[in-house]
Structures are given as structure tokens and as C-alpha cells.
């Protein structure tokens, strides 16, 4: 046992130290380097679904196949990302789907990832229960329970008012919606943005631990034999 432990410590010191230093250097490089996983992010803006594929903040997944599936797993649409890794499609083109969407990005060479848009992410999807999209906007004013006495002039007034309010609100809310979208993207990027130094050092720690375990068992077998 004494012999064997001498053997290990005698073999290692210099090369070990040098390799550790090399590895630390690699870690530092790695933190600046890019992740190698393909990521996908999708969100709804107006009536379009926007899909972004990227390997890291700087390297976009260009010209990659995007496939869209409905909740039943049926493929309803496909397309390709542009040079910025972006792809978008109109929700209105798929009046048939209900509920969420699953979006799959294939970046080739075995890279593949998916993102699910749930019902709550798709503001328009509540409409899908009843009438077709777009149409209700025109019908709504007439259906409004306005005072019956005023006649058509008042109804038209009210409709104009509502339309104006909606427009104003949309304008006011636009920056907030954008901000929320950015915020969400930041969170996601932090989550999927590639390995952090903790993970890297942790992984090396795991390996050191495994070598220790293995040394323990190998050493025990040896001393048993001797």
C-alpha cells in the first residue's frame, strides 16, 4: 500500500501541475468561447410567430429547417431560418389548430432542439373556439349592448371610440411588450446560453473524484493480492 501510493505521487507531480495549468487556461478560453448547443426561442408578436435559432449570442443558426407541430403532433408547417437565424410565420394561416404549438429546429449534423408555445403564449388562440380570426373585429361594434335609443350614429361613435382606444393602447403598450419579450429572452439566454465556469470546474471536480474512487478500489485489490 505504501509502495503503491508512493508510485502514484511519484509519477504525477510535474506533469500533473503543468496539465492542470493548461486546463485552467483552457477554461478561461472556454468561458469566452461559444457554446456548441443549438438553442431555439419563439414568441408571438402581433399575429406572427417569430422563431430564433442560435448556437450562442454571436453565432446564429442559419438556413436551418424549422418544423411546426400542433398539439396532436401533426406537422402543420415548415420553413428555413434566414442568415440571422430568424424565421416567422403568420398564425392566421393555420385557422385549424387549437392550443399550443411545438416548434422544432434542425441545425443539421445531429443538432436538434425544440420549443413549445403553450396556449397562454399565443394570445389569438382563445379566439379559435368560436368565430374565425379577424372577422369579429368588424362585427363587434354592432353586437355591443349600447343604448338602443341613440340609433346608428351613436353606435358608430362608440365603435370609433373603441377603435381609437385600442389603437392608443396598443401604441402605449408596444414598448412594454417589447421589453417583456427582451427580458424573457435574456432569462432564456442565461438558462441556455452555454456552460458557466461553475459547470466546467464542477465537471473537472467530478473527474478528480472518480479517479480517487477508482484509485481506492484498484489499490484495495492490489493490497489484497499482495
Amino acid at each position: 500500500m505504501v509502495n503503491s501510493s508512493n508510485c502514484v505521487s511519484g509519477m504525477a507531480p510535474r506533469i500533473f501541475a503543468v496539465l492542470m495549468v493548461t486546463m485552467m487556461g483552457m477554461c478561461v478560453m472556454a468561458v469566452q468561447a461559444q457554446a456548441h448547443k443549438v438553442n431555439l426561442f419563439a414568441y408571438v408578436e402581433g399575429d406572427r410567430v417569430i422563431v430564433e435559432g442560435y448556437f450562442s449570442a454571436k453565432s446564429r443558426a442559419q438556413d436551418c429547417l424549422v418544423e411546426v407541430f400542433d398539439e396532436g403532433g401533426k406537422k402543420i408547417h415548415e420553413g428555413k431560418t434566414d442568415e440571422k437565424g430568424m424565421y416567422s410565420f403568420k398564425l392566421g394561416d393555420f385557422p385549424a389548430f387549437t392550443g399550443g404549438l411545438k416548434i422544432v429546429l434542425e441545425a443539421g449534423m445531429g443538432h436538434k432542439t425544440e420549443y413549445t408555445l403553450s396556449v397562454s403564449d399565443i394570445p389569438g388562440s382563445a379566439k379559435k373556439d368560436g368565430h374565425p380570426t379577424e372577422q369579429p373585429g368588424k362585427n363587434q361594434p354592432e353586437a355591443l349592448p349600447g343604448p338602443p335609443v341613440g340609433g346608428s350614429a351613436q353606435v358608430a361613435d362608440q365603435a370609433a371610440l373603441i377603435a381609437a382606444m385600442e389603437k392608443a393602447l396598443e401604441k402605449k403598450l408596444e414598448p412594454i411588450v417589447k421589453m417583456l419579450g427582451n427580458q424573457e429572452r435574456l432569462l432564456l439566454e442565461e438558462k441556455y446560453g452555454g456552460p458557466r465556469i461553475n459547470d466546467i470546474v464542477g465537471g473537472i471536480g467530478w473527474i478528480v473524484g472518480m479517479v480517487g474512487m477508482a484509485a481506492f478500489f484498484v489499490g484495495r485489490n492490489r493490497s489484497g493480492k499482495n
Binding site: 506533469i15 503543468v18 456548441h36 441545425a107 445531429g110 466546467i200
Partner: protein, 198 residues
């Protein structure tokens, strides 16, 4: 070159897993006390190397260093690369746990092959012969791995072999050259510092 979850079909995954288990068995059988630290260090090197992105070319190519593992470890490259890939899958989400078998075989088998093919020549007294052998080991392991990844994808997806292979090999040409050079440096460094490791 990590194949993600859900890309391959079950038979390909199964065959990969069987081959990897066989390679691991051979590797673990050859493992002994003296080689342990070496295996650990190279597992760490392999683990970290994948984070070094090679910013040339169209895709997300990174260092692999399986040629170096093969030259230094021989069959022991299997356990080292297996451990490295497992941790990459868990911590970095590179590849995946279900594709671990295929990925390990695709990286470790070329390492062993090139390690044995070039292992003899890196002991040559002629430094030019050594450098060529080291470069071939580093670059060749990537090339063979790329071809095996292409073959796995073709077997699973029925893509045409020449498109898949061409894409992967083209994307990895910068990596091949870089790894060849890095392998020369690592080997010459070890030769100076600790020649008995070779």
C-alpha cells in the same frame, strides 16, 4: 459532433451502446494503478476541449482532442471519453444521455484506431516522422469521427451519405488542422517533460 437526443433511431442507438460497452470493457480491463491519473487528466482535457469553439467555417465546430487521447491512452481512451461525454451531456447538455453510446463510440473508436496506427511512429528518432504521425493522429481521429457521425445519421435518417459526410467533414476541416497541430505540440511537450508517458 455530439448527436442530440431524438435524432437517431433505436437500432442505431442500441448498436452504438453495445459497441461502447465492449470498448469500455476492454479499456477497464487494461486499466491499472499507474495509468489512472493519466486517464483522469485526459478525461478532463476531453471534457473541457469541447468548449473551445473553432470560429472558422459555417457551423458550431469545436475541439475534440480524441486523437491525443488515443495516442496517450490506447484502449483506455474509451473510459476517458465516456466519462467526458457523460459530464458534457449532464452539465452542458451537449449530446444527450440516450445518445451516449453512439457518441462515445464515434469519438473513442477513431481515437483507439489512430492511436494504434500512429503510436509506433511517434517513437521514431526522426522528428519529421514523429510530427507527421502526430498530425495524422490528431487530424485523422477527427476525420474518422466525422465519417462515423455521418454514417450514424445516414443509418438513422436515410440522408444521402455523401451530403451528410461532406457537410460534416467540410465543417471540421479547420478543426482537423488545428487538432493536428495541437497534437504535435502536446506530444512534443510530453516528450520533453515526461517521455515515459509515451
Amino acid at each position: 459532433m455530439h448527436i442530440s437526443e431524438g435524432v437517431l433511431t433505436a437500432p442505431v442507438l442500441g448498436v452504438g451502446a453495445v459497441f461502447t460497452v465492449a470498448g469500455l470493457a476492454v479499456g477497464l480491463k487494461k486499466m491499472d494503478h499507474e495509468r489512472l491519473p493519466e486517464v483522469g487528466v485526459l478525461a478532463s482535457v476531453f471534457f473541457v476541449a469541447s468548449l473551445i469553439h473553432v470560429p472558422i467555417g459555417p457551423s458550431a465546430a469545436h475541439l475534440v482532442l480524441n486523437g491525443t487521447c488515443g495516442l496517450l491512452l490506447g484502449w483506455l481512451a474509451f473510459p476517458a471519453i465516456f466519462v467526458g461525454l457523460t459530464l458534457q451531456a449532464i452539465l452542458f447538455e451537449f449530446g444527450g444521455l440516450t445518445t451516449l453510446g453512439v457518441n462515445t463510440f464515434n469519438m473513442a473508436f477513431p481515437a483507439v484506431v489512430l492511436g494504434y496506427l500512429c503510436g509506433h511512429f511517434i517513437k521514431s528518432p526522426n522528428s519529421a516522422v514523429r510530427a507527421v504521425a502526430e498530425f495524422v493522429a490528431g487530424a485523422g481521429a477527427i476525420l474518422l469521427s466525422g465519417l462515423m457521425v455521418a454514417a450514424s445519421l445516414v443509418l438513422a435518417l436515410g440522408e444521402s451519405i455523401d451530403t451528410a459526410a461532406r457537410l460534416i467533414v467540410l465543417a471540421h476541416i479547420p478543426v482537423m488542422i488545428l487538432e493536428g497541430v495541437i497534437t504535435i505540440f502536446i506530444m512534443e511537450f510530453i516528450r520533453r517533460v515526461r517521455p515515459e508517458m509515451l
